[in-house]
Symmetry: C2
Amino acid sequence: MAVTLDSARELDRQDPLATFKERFALPEGVLYLDGNSLGAQPLAARKAVTETMDQWRDELIKGWNQGWFDAPERLGNLLAPVIGAGEGEVVVTDNITLNIFKLLGYIIGQRGDGGGVVLSEGGNFPTDGYIAQGFSRFGGHQHRFLPEGESLEAHLDGVDVVVLSQVNYRTGALRDMAAATRLVHAHGAEVIWDLAHSAGALPVDLNGSGARYAVGCTYKYLNGGPGAPAFIYVQRGHQDSGWQPLSGWHGHAAPFAFEADYAPAGDITRFRTGTHSALAYSALEASLAMWAEVDMHALRDKSLAVSELFRDCLADLLEPYGIADITPAAGERGSQVSLVAAEDGFAIVQALIARGVIGDYREPGLMRFGFTPLYLSFEDVWQAARHFREVLESGEYRESRFKVRSAVT
Amino acid sequence: MAVTLDSARELDRQDPLATFKERFALPEGVLYLDGNSLGAQPLAARKAVTETMDQWRDELIKGWNQGWFDAPERLGNLLAPVIGAGEGEVVVTDNITLNIFKLLGYIIGQRGDGGGVVLSEGGNFPTDGYIAQGFSRFGGHQHRFLPEGESLEAHLDGVDVVVLSQVNYRTGALRDMAAATRLVHAHGAEVIWDLAHSAGALPVDLNGSGARYAVGCTYKYLNGGPGAPAFIYVQRGHQDSGWQPLSGWHGHAAPFAFEADYAPAGDITRFRTGTHSALAYSALEASLAMWAEVDMHALRDKSLAVSELFRDCLADLLEPYGIADITPAAGERGSQVSLVAAEDGFAIVQALIARGVIGDYREPGLMRFGFTPLYLSFEDVWQAARHFREVLESGEYRESRFKVRSAVT
């Protein structure tokens, strides 16, 4: 391969983030390049969940006064520095789908009566479009798609709110958040940023970009656990401008006064709805405490270095095996490598999984490999590339057992 | 006291549900009468959560194909018999606040264009009204309160949907579900039943009552853990009549086809939204598997017997200490005893908690004691009543440390 194993090991010796790997529980014999779907388990998360089970057993209802009730704001403050937000600007709550609905209602509700226009990205992760359609259908608004690859500016006329992903889930393409935010604001519209594939993948600068609204999940790069709760960011000056439509008691100004009428909390708390899982929050809190120690610029450097190493190791194989590398250039991507093999992509990913190299596959033909600098060493990535080469050169991906497709891959 | 300790112990010896208590992890020295707020921890839940943490660590993304993804429907089917529903009629998802919003949108959406009228109960748990207000405000509908204590029939004119609790969270009063459902349907309206204080508290017969729509939570009587996910019930013949507004990818007809446009699943799955916490579901699943063994009529018999024992033990104290017993008659309540001491209620509950007898307090003056037959013995209840008597007769509740009120009780 273009890079030697020795040189990969030398890179590990120089890696300022190398010690984070010891803080994860990783299964033997697995090279995990799917942290962009579900992050690996921090050892601290395991301990935290056990403690929360003890707390439920021993403290019972009193647990709600011992940290469970305030977890959405506390975890939001832990997460804030990772995404360039300030204290009191982030709350951890519900899932991305629901959080987009809340922000759409909150923003459109401020723009006066009558129907609004919601623009969402074609080619974005589908749930962003689905919930924009549900919101529009029920609220009497109009929903449009921005066709994939077309200019945002050409589609902003008459639009009230745009939902944009900072990093595209398929290609890994990174949008310039500051530039797109300026453009949308200049057209008198608002933008909701979806950080699902950027939070924890690279330094995100919400405040510095002038972003007012964002959502994201915590179970990918942020290692919060399967289905860990999502988050909402609202810039400080925009938190007290009306209701959000999913008005539940945890978002009330005085949740324990049990008043008949809803009155939203004066701050980010208004984006909470109802009772949340203390277990789910405890795993995430342990991971976020670890993230507070991460130098995000060192993370970005390593993310780009390991993904380049992977590409360099495979470069000579692409043309012979009909594989296209659609990974954007270093400054223009998140933390993934995207390769397309129209015919054999599915079989190659399955053959890799059989060897313990976990990537994922999305129709049509797309092989996605996520790079998570906290628990992937340069040697891991080198070994994953070696397996990839062996899968191709041996022809083992052509075995029929790797070609059968199931509904969920 | 009116009942002797020996006779309480004799009732325990005759109790067909007595062995369930061994299946709970209960702290030493606690008599827990607050299972109507947060249920105690089944031993099986602890094991299940540990196994799910192992699964996250070892299987990583593959866990979603190994039971996590289908948990909402699988747990719904486990829960169905406990509430008188059939296979495929219940899905476990999100929280009560969000589930009421989904059903309001689903029902109103079927009733043609134009504004609808939503009626919710005054004196109900506030989040039911809050979300009815949020829904109405954003959808251009009208929200009204049914004043507490007034006749439902007198307020049904022009109403499209009513949100009713089967058991009132403050008083424990039980509504006749079959009669109220018939009345609402006869007025051309629909009813959404909130089962928060009835599911797992008494036999609920959704199918037999003709109920079409219901929601409920699982962290009270059903022991799913703090903030365990809620559920939605939709009668089989009413599951395919349109969208629900919180349209996310997990409710899509083909979630892994990643289609641009939303198309709801043809069944109860359409009430799912986005990714859920595998940890939270695993604790609940372990508890629901235990509930499958419970004879709900034996549960009801014991619920009424233990709550009567508690009242009998305290009957002679009420008048001397200015306490009103507002607990409805046996056939007309859920599984709680409600006592009002306008002046001293808070201090009495605090003094009981200091002795390890956990009840809860709601302004103004309301002391609530929940009775959970699976893990409360007759002797437990007798001892709780003895402490209550000693707290009053000793006057210890008058100590200043019990009178200081915090925001959350």
